[in-house]
């Protein structure tokens, strides 16, 4: 267990990572900072306030231009980043909690318990992500709750399978067998011996789930099932901007660039973490 903790500490040491990882962390950090600071500092004004003529290109009163209702794009973009990141992070936290619990139980118990958990995951996994998300949103009704539930449902199956596989490998190791022979109770073994050893897998899968979550949220908002008007999310801004791609390209370029940058950054972070936790695997992105 101590070795696992050391591994996590080493994994988190910034200086041991390459430039790509550090750049990705910087991008995420900046996004997080502007999202958190934006509303307090009042950057660009109120997101839903009409500040000028419709569809104006970037100018003094509206640094990123105005949208189809004459609202400044900058505060809406900041709101959109915040909504998307917050929603996705919250959803991934839920996913991590559920998947880790199910994965560890499946990996430790094995047998029928694992079969039931993993087969249910397989059924969910067999649906295309966006179809499953639309189904959830249709049942729960459009809005943030639906988007959150949809992201969780879409990301849980893969993470459960990955954590389950990792937990199964750990459960076969000698120190777990020794703990079991010594009479340590199953919950304690799972919590104290297995969980720390699958933490790396959870961290790596969490970053992938985050990027999937952002894409699902974008897709749902694009279809009208996600964040509701007048709130903005990156998906919603891209949906609105798509109609003005030629006449007012700033409406799609700014949220599009941010979405691409956020997903790239998250995937690079995840890739680097995976390299650190699983050095025998080749890097997938670069």
């Amino acid at each position: 267990m101590r070795a696992a903790a050391v591994r996590v500490r080493r994994a988190l040491a910034m200086r041991s990572y390459d430039g790509l990882f550090r750049a990705a962390v910087w991008v995420l950090g900046v996004l997080l900072l502007v999202t958190l600071a934006g509303p307090f500092v009042g950057v660009g004004g109120q997101p839903d306030a009409i500040v000028g003529p419709r569809l104006m290109p970037p100018g003094a009163g509206w640094p990123l231009g105005t949208d189809n209702l004459g609202r400044s794009l900058l505060p809406r973009l900041l709101q959109g980043i915040g909504t998307t990141l917050l929603l996705s992070c919250l959803a991934v936290a839920c996913t991590a909690l559920i998947s880790t619990a199910l994965g560890v139980i499946a990996g430790y118990r094995g047998g029928r318990t694992a079969e039931v958990i993993l087969r249910i995951g397989d059924v969910l996994y067999s649906f295309p992500a966006i179809v499953l998300a639309v189904l959830v949103a249709a049942v729960l009704g459009p809005g943030r709750t639906a988007a959150l539930a949809a992201i969780v449902l879409v990301t849980v199956p893969l993470m459960t399978r990955m954590v389950g596989t990792a937990a199964r490998a750990v459960a076969r190791r000698e120190f777990v067998t020794a703990a079991r022979i010594s009479g340590v109770r199953a919950p304690t073994i799972m919590l104290r011996h297995i969980l720390p050893n699958v933490a790396g897998t959870v961290a790596v899968q969490g970053t992938y789930a985050l990027s999937v979550g952002i894409l699902v949220e974008g897709g749902l908002s694009f279809l009208g099932y996600g964040v509701q008007l007048p709130d903005a999310s990156l998906g919603l801004l891209i949906q609105e901007g798509g109609l003005y791609m030629v006449g007012a390209p700033w409406l799609i370029v700014a949220p599009g660039v941010v979405l691409v940058a956020a997903i790239m950054a998250i995937n690079l972070v995840g890739d680097s973490l995976r390299d650190r936790f699983e050095p025998r695997e080749t890097r997938s992105l670069v």
Binding site: R54, L69, P142, E240, L243, Y244, V246
Partner: protein, 535 residues
């Protein structure tokens, strides 16, 4: 969100005004369409001598519970597409007057009698000649049907053949919009012999007297029409194959117009006009409509603050329709009362009771609390209108939460047996007589609005009175009273008109497009379209 249809009747002066309001935003130097003669945005160029195929792209297809039966068609899209095959006795001229179509003429010996003389030489596409039995049978079939549109025909007492080419319609009482109601696709004349002998299933096949026949149709994907060789003016029709493609994505239709894969395209985003600025060989115009957006305030829920007329009126007073038109619809729309403002005799929306209130009733607004506003996703303008309303009501201290649904869910939430909404934005076809659409404010006549609309006997009486009076100063006064009552009761509030945006390729077609349309049929003059010789 009834996509039911629209118009008839507009004055010359009004047409001229609308023409200037809706001047094309995107133009091309090589455009050969002749600029607007009175009542037209563009008229087809007679120097184009070609014939050939034409591809049209639309955002959605006709979807009706009654299949392809035109009498049960309840949406403007169905009326447009089916009008390519079916024709009624009369039609609408560019200034919203009524002109002959399958009837060559008509007489009105008294206020309740109409005598139609049928046009000679009219045949169905199977070659059988049109008879008075087809006319009588079609109108009786419509009146007996449960179609919502039957209510628009008014108090018809009898329809009888009174000569070899003469049909007489007797009304129980005077009904001014009768001819206007006859001028729409649901009142089309059907091949009754084939329907009665069972050789034609109207829900699956189309057989009419119109310029086109259907070759094939795949729901929500395409329609293929070919020229009806039995059509009386078939030699004048330049489009010999008409393909209508259903392309829901606005951006895809924009791209199709840019690259020339479609010759005529409809848009539901007013800003599409700007998106095509400078595009070679593409032109986009805005056609005024009598259609208008409305706001429903669900008054039938006894637990809702909206059950109180004072609250509804206060909310109405807090709305600024001029701002809605300019912000949400880029200034292409205009405020309207229940009589569509583009039609003759319409009331002045600036003089409505709520519009003249300087300070909305604060106590009533306080009671409103938080309200849910339902919108649907397929039309960007609906969401934009909702956001402007949200801001206007926020200024009045009312919180509005917008709930965006796909069209089907919206339909179930708003028009279902158990409505689940406080406020909802949608649109009505405005038709062609100023009193026609007001019939939907009578839930007994409308049928679809009884679940969220309380029956208002005062309003019902005004609706009947407006329909029964002949055009003139008295009727104009009645229409103003009708508008005021709708505005005061504030159960279903007309907001602003809903313009159409139409794009076309000037190198592929020279269309005839009217300045204003009443039944949402921008393909109305397709038999006049001309094509370049290369086609």
């Amino acid at each position: 969100m009834r996509r039911s249809a629209i118009i008839v009747g507009c004055s010359v002066a009004l047409s001229a005004t609308l023409t200037s309001c809706s001047a094309p935003a995107a133009t091309d130097a090589t455009d050969t369409g002749k600029a607007s003669k009175s009542g037209y945005l563009t008229a087809s160029d007679a120097s184009f001598k070609g014939t050939g195929p034409l591809t049209v792209q639309l955002d959605y297809d006709s979807v009706e519970a009654g299949g392809l039966d035109p009498q049960t068609a309840a949406t403007a899209r169905s009326w447009s597409i089916e009008s390519l095959v079916y024709e009624p006795l009369v039609t609408v001229d560019p200034k919203f007057g009524i002109e002959p179509l399958l009837a060559s003429s008509w007489k009105q010996p008294d206020a309740t009698t109409y005598v139609f003389t049928l046009r000679k030489g009219v045949t169905f596409s199977n070659g059988r000649a049109l008879t008075t039995a087809d006319v009588v049978g079609s109108l009786q079939r419509l009146l007996k049907s449960k179609a919502a549109y039957a209510a628009q025909l008014g108090p018809v007492k009898s329809v009888t053949a009174t000569g070899p080419t003469e049909v007489t319609v007797q009304l129980a009482k005077a009904y001014t919009p009768f001819l206007a109601a006859l001028a729409n696709t649901p009142a089309a004349i059907l091949p009754m012999k084939e329907i009665d002998d069972g050789s034609l299933d109207l829900t699956k096949e189309m057989l009419g007297t119109g310029p086109f026949v259907v070759k094939n149709h795949k729901q929500d994907q395409y329609w293929n029409f070919t020229r009806n060789t039995a059509y009386r003016d078939t030699k004048k029709v330049r489009v010999d194959d008409l393909k209508i493609e259903i392309v829901p994505q606005e951006a895809a239709r924009l791209a199709a117009l840019r690259n020339g894969s479609a010759a005529v395209v409809n848009f539901n985003n007013i800003d599409s006009m700007d998106q095509l600025t400078g595009t070679r060989n593409a032109k986009v115009v805005s056609q005024a409509n009598s259609d208008f957006y409305y706001l429903i305030q669900n008054s039938k829920n006894p637990d809702s603050p909206l059950a109180d007329e004072k609250v509804r009126f206060a909310l109405n007073s807090a709305l600024n329709r001029t701002e809605i038109a300019s912000v949400a619809l880029g200034g292409q729309a205009q405020p309207t009362g229940v009589t569509p403002s583009v039609l003759p005799g319409a009331c002045d929306p600036a003089k409505l009771p709520a519009a003249t209130v300087k300070t909305p009733d604060a106590a009533a607004l306080k009671k409103a609390g938080t309200l849910r506003l339902a919108v649907y996703t397929s039309e960007p303008a609906v969401g934009q209108i909702a956001q402007v309303i949200q801001q206007q009501l926020a200024k009045a201290g009312v919180t509005v939460k917008i709930q965006k649904y796909d069209d089907t869910t919206y339909g179930a939430k708003v028009f279902g047996a158990k409505p689940d909404f406080d406020l909802a934005v949608g649109w009505f076809a405005g038709y062609v007589d100023a009193s026609m659409v007001s019939r939907w404010w009578n839930p007994v006549l409308a049928g679809f609005s009884g679940t969220f609309l309380n029956d208002d006997k005062t309003l019902d009486a005004l609706i009947d009175k407006a329909a029964g009076e002949p055009d003139g100063a008295t009727r104009t006064k009645t229409l103003a009273d009708l508008c005021a009552r709708v505005d005061t009761a504030a159960q279903m509030l007309p907001l602003v008109t809903r313009p159409s945006v139409i794009g076309y390729r000037t190198d592929q077609v020279s269309p005839t497009l009217r300045t204003a349309e009443g039944y949402g049929n921008f393909l109305r003059d397709i038999t006049s379209y001309t094509l370049p010789a290369g086609k």
